[in-house]
């Protein structure tokens, strides 16, 4: 018996030393190198992208002498020597304000209904399944929807309000999904406690659930706005101006926006416009960076609060 196992283990030992593993090792090394190379592709493209933007921006400063004060202070213009970003920035701020109002109201209400009130029936499942579908519709299609319904159907014309509605339709699923998660994360014990104290469902939602869920909702809203502020296609379809020589002063003014202005400058053949586009992109990316920073700040602060209440 014992000799049998000894012989067996000897045989195994022999077979392991006999196998030539160098080809296996080589294969593994090549595979690893391939994976590392593929993973660095995205990083390299990102480096090239930023280097390219800054290079073009510096050309704008040095070869064309585009002053930053002029760039930020002038309105759009057909001549590159006068063109600035001011009207586009103001239009983007207007679009952001209106979009925020729409998506906060619609996003929170829809999420509250789905989590707190909705019965588990076919209508509810339809609404939930539809959210995933809406998130996948191309942005340009939202543009023509609002073009037909609001710009021409309701006769509003190509105004900031129509642009904001298109952007809201595009990003509201993001807010809804984030709000659903934030509201679901509120422990049921808090709802039960509130109900036991005699509160109606709406009182519980207003005074207990919403205050707890607000940080998560805010984070989702900021991320949705970051997506909206960089969108170009729906605004082009709604009829945004390529060159806005006047500064918009209200929701019913015609408009351009930061990405639309960048698009037009990139499209135009003159070299100086490309430099202007690069400077516009730097402004746009700084705005996005600031929004991301706020979102991260809220998330961090919220995480700390949760850990404190947990103690």
């Amino acid at each position: 018996m014992s000799t049998d196992t000894e012989r067996g283990s000897e045989a195994i030992g022999q077979s392991i030393t006999d196998v030539d593993l160098s080809s296996e090792k080589f294969k593994n090394r090549v595979f690893y190198a391939t994976l590392v190379a593929a993973s660095s592709f995205g990083v390299i493209m990102l480096v090239f992208l930023f280097a390219d933007i800054f290079y073009e921006g510096i050309i704008g400063q040095q070869r064309f002498g585009i002053e930053i004060s002029r760039f930020l202070g002038n309105t759009g213009s057909q001549t590159p020597g006068n063109a600035g970003f001011y009207s586009a920035i103001v239009a983007s701020i207007w679009l952001m304000l209106l979009t925020t109002a729409f998506i906060l109201f619609l996003g929170i209400s829809t999420a509250l209904y789905l989590v707190e009130y909705a019965p588990d029936n076919r209508t509810t499942r339809l609404i939930e399944a539809n959210l995933a579908n809406l998130a996948g519709v191309p942005s340009v299609v939202y543009g023509i929807l609002i073009l037909a319904l609001i710009v021409n159907g309701a006769g509003l014309g190509s105004v900031i309000l129509a642009g904001a509605i298109a952007l809201s339709a595009l990003v509201v699923p993001i807010v809804i999904v984030a709000s659903i998660e934030a509201i679901r994360a509120v422990p049921d014990g808090m709802r039960d406690g509130s109900a036991a104290a005699g509160a109606t469902q709406w009182q519980t939602i207003r005074r207990v659930v919403l205050p707890q869920a607000i940080p998560g909702i805010m984070t989702g809203t900021i991320l949705a706005l970051a997506r909206a502020v960089g969108e170009t296609a729906p605004l082009l379809m709604v009829g945004a101006l390529f060159t806005d020589t006047s500064v918009p002063s209200g929701p019913f003014d015609s408009f351009s926006s930061m990405p639309v202005q960048i698009y037009n400058w990139t499209y135009l053949p003159q070299r100086e416009f490309l430099a202007l586009a690069a400077m516009g992109i730097i402004v746009l990316l700084l705005v996005l960076l600031a929004m991301q920073a706020v979102a991260v700040y809220i998330r961090r602060k919220y995480e700390r609060d949760v850990s404190l209440t947990g103690v």
Partner: protein, 329 residues
């Protein structure tokens, strides 16, 4: 010592008022929730209605109220098999094949960039990378997804086309113009890498370690575990990420129009200009388009095809995701 204790008003108006508020709130919230469904319905109605105007010369509602009647203006066979797309020119040509081809060829080309690179990145992140490397690499790749598409369009015009595609073109002795199909592949492929890599990585992370350890115990190498255990086990999740990337590439507008251009033609030459369906829609925004004109309605006919394509992709994606969740629950 008789202190009067105030009895709570249990049958009172206040309670009834609160309950009424509760019911009203519920109705308002339901109204908001149904707006998302109404948006989908509006998408279908608007797209079909205007597309009917394009193909049959009358909007559906105009026919319903008896104001107009359908008469064929653009035949479906011409639309889907004609090889010249120029609805704005005179004489007009309504063959959408060139722009459908444009969208397909850009999507497939971009998939050849994003799928191998994204999958390899996911395998590296999930199976090989140290936690510190992983925590650094993931946010960087997410930046790639967060950059607005117009910035990729700029990147195509100022770098990819003149420098990368230009250099490749000069190797073959071809001078590259302002736009090229290959530039479209590169920018759209690059921007969809994070979609493939992050969703595939999630799927790979969900594969139970027992499967990996079992394979290691049988003497498998890391390479074999990655390709023969993790990849097949996470397959439906990985496929879902591919479909998502493809769906995004189909609907991609700004980067594609600035990279691949505005010339509708049936060509397989990667150095030539090509027009996608989305680029056609953008090109109409540059001109003045009268409401109800043929080019205005062609916008919706093209939009409808685009919507159906991405909807199909999303339904497949949904199905694959659900299958993957069923396996590991």
């Amino acid at each position: 010592m008789s202190t009067e204790i105030q009895e709570p008003d249990l049958s009172g108006d206040e309670l009834r008022g609160d309950r009424a508020t509760d019911r009203r709130v519920k109705r308002v919230l339901f109204g908001c929730a149904s707006i998302t469904v109404l948006t989908t319905i509006a998408l279908f109605v608007v797209l079909f209605d205007n597309a009917a105007g394009y193909f049959y010369g009358a909007r559906i509602w105009e026919v319903l109220i008896g104001q107009e009647s359908f008469r064929q203006t653009v035949s479906l066979s011409e639309f889907f098999s004609g090889t010249r797309w120029a609805p704005v020119r005179s004489p007009p040509a309504h063959g959408a094949l060139p722009i459908i081809w444009g969208t397909l060829v850009i999507t497939i080309g971009a998939a050849f960039v994003s799928i191998p690179i994204g999958t390899a990145t996911a395998l590296y992140l999930s199976e090989y990378a140290k936690p510190t490397t992983r925590n650094r690499l993931k946010p960087i790749l997410e930046v790639l997804a967060g950059i607005p598409t117009i910035v990729y369009g700029f990147f195509a015009v100022s770098f990819i086309t003149p420098i990368v595609v230009g250099a490749l073109g000069s190797l073959f002795g071809i001078s590259v113009g302002r736009y090229s199909m290959m530039a479209g592949w590169i920018v759209v492929g690059t921007m969809t890498i994070p979609m493939v890599s992050s969703i595939s990585e999630d799927a790979m992370q969900a594969v139970p370690d027992d499967l990996r350890n079992g394979a290691y115990a049988l003497g498998a190498t890391k390479y074999e575990v990655s390709l023969r255990i993790v990849l097949p086990a996470a397959l439906s999740g990985i496929l879902a990420s591919y479909i998502l990337a493809i769906s995004r590439a189909i609907g991609e507008t700004m980067a594609v129009s600035l990279a691949a251009g505005f010339q509708p033609q049936l060509t397989a030459n990667p150095f030539s200009e090509i027009m996608t369906m989305t680029a056609y829609m953008v090109s109409l925004a540059r001109g003045t388009t009268a409401v109800g004109s043929v080019e205005y309605q062609s916008l919706f006919a093209v939009g409808l095809i685009l919507f159906i394509m991405t909807l199909t992709a999303n339904l497949i994606n949904d199905y694959l995701k659900r299958r993957f969740q069923e396996v590991y629950r």
